[in-house]
Amino acid sequence: MEKLTFRHATKKPLAGAKAQAITGVVASGNLEVLLERALPPDACTVEIETPINGYGDVWEAVVADFVARAQPGGIRITINDGGARPDTVSLRLLQGARLMEV
């Protein structure tokens, strides 16, 4: 099991007032993403637990791309991975951010 943590500075807080959201499921090729409004509005953290070792660089790139697109300021994101592909991870992160906004 590999544990990864990424910290990013954001330009703005994520819209909306929802305190938390969860999306996805821990299943083969899938993942679950828990989002909590728990940080200062200019910070975002992403913590990942994955059973697939050795893909830290890919995770780093996917998370950086998500942060740049969504600007999820104030959000603590925790991921339980079930071996999802990068495109699935990206979609789930955006889905989670959207759930926090509505």
Partner: protein, 306 residues
């Protein structure tokens, strides 16, 4: 909290996540989760096997309203480890049942989607199954109906099948299956000649929703939509039997009669023919409306036991 669904009348129960099922089943916005994912009550055992955990351990419990009535609900996520019972997963259901003794809701609903006990934490899982069955009898004895809804991809197998057997009432869909030993388990132990687990039609004739409904193993047959399960749950709450000696003796008598009448049958279709179905081979392809008409015609699958 998430996994909202827009139209329960068209959303497939089978395809929906456990959270989406709860969202569509209960009155809009009424669900309040106990021990939510943010508390991170995850399995203490799975890391030993280098397996990923889920924030809710595949079991979502809480309170809500069903047509205005207060209910307690538990939903299993069948895609996480086959919805299997581990230590935390089981403890959350036991805790919910014990809460029902205090709160006396109009009903406690269990949205089954499980292959049984989680093998990686089997002792804790087996214990949980036993504790759940004991707790269900206590809740029923206290006058609260326990309603099982079965239509997920994992069905209700193993200990989940045993728990289903202790519920006041069960609703099942075409996709739902109820049994203890699953198809692969039977094939592994007895050989493919005895039970070919790849023969899907055989699996459904033996454990599927229609067969269980026809033989009295389930009390309602629902379309595979969230709205249909909501309707079925409401009706079953209203018709749940008392939990007393007379009910148990009637159930015992019904099961003995079932063995005497069908014990020599070699296939589900033989049982359906003996029940009075004119064309048993046509039953698996029947729509819910046609199947309901058949049930009305046979007229003996309804019983007040269990």
């Amino acid at each position: 909290m998430s996994d909202r669904i827009t139209d329960p009348a068209t959303t497939s129960w089978y395809e929906a996540s456990a959270r989406a099922r709860l969202d569509g089943l209960l009155d809009p916005g009424s669900f309040r989760e106990f021990i939510g994912p943010e508390q991170r009550r995850m399995s203490p055992h799975l890391p030993l096997f280098d397996l990923p955990r889920a924030f809710d351990d595949g079991m979502i419990v809480g309170a809500g309203r069903l047509d205005g009535q207060a209910v307690l609900v538990a939903a299993q996520e069948g895609r996480f480890m086959g919805g299997a019972f581990g230590e935390v997963h089981g403890a959350k259901l036991v805790g919910l049942l014990r809460a029902a003794l205090d709160q006396k809701p109009a009903a406690l609903l269990i949205l089954f989607d499980t292959g049984g006990v989680r093998l990686q934490e089997a002792n804790a899982g087996e214990t949980a199954i036993a504790e759940v069955m004991r707790a269900i009898t206590q809740v029923r004895a206290a006058g609260v109906p326990v309603i099982g809804l079965i239509g997920g991809r994992a069905g209700a197998y193993g200990g989940g099948g045993l728990i289903a057997g202790t519920c006041s009432r069960l609703a099942v869909s075409e996709g739902g299956r109820i049994s203890v030993s699953g198809p692969e388990v039977i094939e592994t132990n007895k050989g493919a000649e005895e039970f070919d687990s790849r023969d899907r039609a055989l699996v459904w004739r033996t454990m599927g929703g229609k067969h269980r409904r026809l033989t009295g193993g389930a009390d309602a047959f629902a379309d595979d939509t969230v709205a249909a399960f909501r309707t079925a749950a409401l009706r079953l709450i209203d018709t749940a039997p008392a939990f007393d000696l007379a009910t148990l003796e009637a159930e015992q008598a019904r099961l003995e009669e079932r063995i005497a009448r069908f014990g020599d049958c070699r296939d589900g279709t033989e049982i359906w023919a003996r029940l009075g179905a004119n064309d048993p081979a046509a039953i698996p392809a029947m729509t819910t409306a046609e199947f309901d008409a058949l049930l009305a015609q046979i007229g003996e699958t309804t019983h007040d036991a269990r």
